[in-house]
Symmetry: C2
Subunit: 407 residues, 2 copies
């Protein structure tokens, strides 16, 4: 039995896990347009000056040391199913026996006018640095003005990312910015806007309520049942036609399949790549789709959530299927084991939901803390993050408030 | 005696030291175009993936906490000596009794054609991230190619910055990049080019020799007596008309007065702001110039070096002169106390020259290490830097190899 050639597109949670799982049984080439993996769950801490940008990224080649996995930095441009090759933008042609597509998701503006132009996204290190620069620059403007000029920051989307972002902004305002210049910090107004009837819709209603209360205690104005109809350069228009001032609008309302799956002409189903229960792409049994792009459904018939645990479980599952197929066996069906969800709101404030168990407050916060440290790639990032967090925790300060202008 | 109003332009080593020294005896406003101070002596470690970008920057407002000093982010555009005001690009007008100009230096291309377009500078966090991105991107290209394509990196300028840069690049190649992909790392060629007859011309000749030897041991090709006549997009032309391939050319050959001193119409003398022995700008006795821009001369009649210790001593000196002038006393003359120089080459390799004492090797390296940690602003940066350094030291690795594209 010879080692099959496997190409994996995307070095996120799914792609990197798949590469490591397959390293011993296949000739693996991993492809990503960045030379690093981004630890997306902590990106909001870069935006809010809590963590150094370099500590939520990890070099892909570092993660692959001591394995035989090859890495190529680049983007796929042409997928040829007949010759089983994929062409990269460097013109390199990679041939494969099995292909795993794990290219992840991008911000979804749902076609709402102005969102793309006037709202800041939160899906990359560069975008996170952009939010940080914008917040700190507008804060410097406030420091200069002695009138009552206010700065309104609106976070749109009440899912975990929106909740964490709004909470971290509130703590940035109450702590470091207040120490920087209390008069200016006081004039910052933070709002969280959710189109549905409650925050964190995937959690139990009681935790949604607790999250709203916790955010309000931190000074965040929480608006539910409030859809955004249009984004303008310094304001937002709600579905009821009310227009509010919003100098900085941060869009965390949703994500969609990365558009590269369209370039590769993969069959789609409801906005995701159409897959069999074994995660094989429809019509192409040697191509697998995992993570945010995969149209896999749960027992309830709905798409699985676009979260890291799904991608990582699917990655390990697909690695096993490739071993089975290579041994002439038939593939099995993927089943997602939901280990629970968590979201942090602020210091000693978080919500955790694990198999019916619902926890809030400090205990949940410590659970969140250790789990994220545990999953953060690499010892150096762990140490660096722990150093920054310890410093922030003890001093109520955040050191990474630099305006570094990015493309 | 009322508190004088002092405006300080520039929050580098000079400006920030002056602000802190004057905080109790004056109403101080500090102005800088960034909201952070850059720890320039460690910038080369950002370029070579050793340190996180955020850890060589420190928020100015953080450095001014617990003082009464005001901060304004912005650039000065008009200096009015009659009304004693300075206008910022925000249109704000600051009035002063005393003005301290400490705007520092920018890269000097000495009018050599092509340098501005084709060489990378090393005077800001953004430029350091640019070098890191360029080195890592070209390394990724090498990893893809299986022929004998080489990557030539040339550092131009054999002063401390050039020496440190070349040494750190050599260690990046020999350690982390070799672990990433040995075949590609082998094909990187690092060159250090100096126009004069020896490296580190401000040090004793024996230390220059030792530095050259140490760099050559690390695999750096050192060329002295080699001036650059022209820079092209992928090559350099030397004074003897020899043209060498250089995919990445890093310019550390010199700095000059920041051009903003010309916009402010300050009197110049040999490329620096003309000052009296008490550092008062010629014709304007309530305006002081300190640091890289100040045309202060040493006992040898030559301009003082453009280094942090000069700027900091001048800052403390000027703070005292402002107190004297405000008390109706006459100013004294500035005298620079040279406490020595140091430059690091690589692990356990550095040179230190203190009052005739000349030290090389591991002892010098540890001295360099502790001194830089001591002067690095803020506890968080110290902890973060120590964490990164400890990690790099123990693992021979460098974790910050991310290509983050900047403007």
């Amino acid at each position: 039995m010879s080692k099959p050639k496997v190409v994996i597109l995307g070095a996120g949670f799914g792609g990197l896990t798949a590469a490591r799982s397959l390293a011993d049984i296949a000739d693996v080439t991993l492809v990503d347009r960045h030379n690093f993996q981004t630890f997306l769950p902590l990106l909001y801490q870069v935006s809010t000056a809590g963590l150094a940008a370099d500590h939520v990224a990890y070099p892909v080649r570092g993660a692959l040391r001591k394995t035989s996995v090859q890495f190529r930095m680049g983007s796929p441009i042409v997928l040829d199913h007949i010759n089983k090759t994929i062409k990269l933008d460097s013109s390199e042609l990679l041939s494969f026996d099995y292909l795993i597509v794990a290219v992840g998701s991008v911000t979804n503006d749902f076609g709402i006018p102005g969102v793309n132009e006037h709202c800041l996204g939160m899906k990359s290190v560069v975008e996170a640095l952009g939010i940080r620069a914008e917040v700190m620059r507008r804060f410097e403007d406030l420091c200069r003005l002695t009138d009552n000029t206010e700065l309104s920051i609106t976070v749109i989307g009440g899912g975990p990312t929106g909740v964490e972002m709004a909470g971290a902004l509130a703590e940035l305002k109450r702590g470091p910015l207040k120490s920087d210049q209390a008069g200016a910090a006081k004039r910052i107004h933070i709002r969280l806007v959710e189109a549905g009837p409650r925050l964190l819709p995937s959690f139990a209603p009681a935790l949604s309520e607790r999250t709203k209360r916790d955010l309000e205690k931190l000074g965040v104005e929480v608006l539910v049942n409030t859809g955004v109809k249009q984004a303008k350069s310094l304001s937002l228009v709600f579905n009821n036609d009310e227009e509010i001032a919003s100098e900085i609008s941060i869009w965390t309302a949703g994500v969609k399949c990365a558009p590269v799956v369209n370039d590769l002409l993969l069959p789609m189903d409801g906005g995701r790549v159409s897959v069999s229960p074994s995660l094989q792409v429809t019509n192409y049994e040697n191509v697998f789709a995992i993570g945010d792009i995969a149209g896999a459904k749960g027992a309830d018939g709905r798409f699985l959530p676009m979260v890291a645990p799904v991608a990582m479980q699917q990655a390990r599952f697909v690695a096993k299927q490739i071993a089975r197929l290579n041994a002439g066996e038939t593939p099995t069906n993927f089943k997602y084991v939901d280990k629970g969800s968590m979201a942090t709101i602020g210091r000693h404030k978080a919500v955790v939901e694990v198999k019916g168990l619902r926890i809030g407050g400090a205990v949940a916060w410590y659970m969140w803390l250790w789990l994220h440290l545990f999953y953060l790639l690499g010892g150096r990032n762990k140490i660096g993050t722990m150093a920054d967090w310890t410093w922030n925790y003890l001093t109520f300060d955040r050191g990474n408030r630099h305006i570094i202008d990015i493309a």
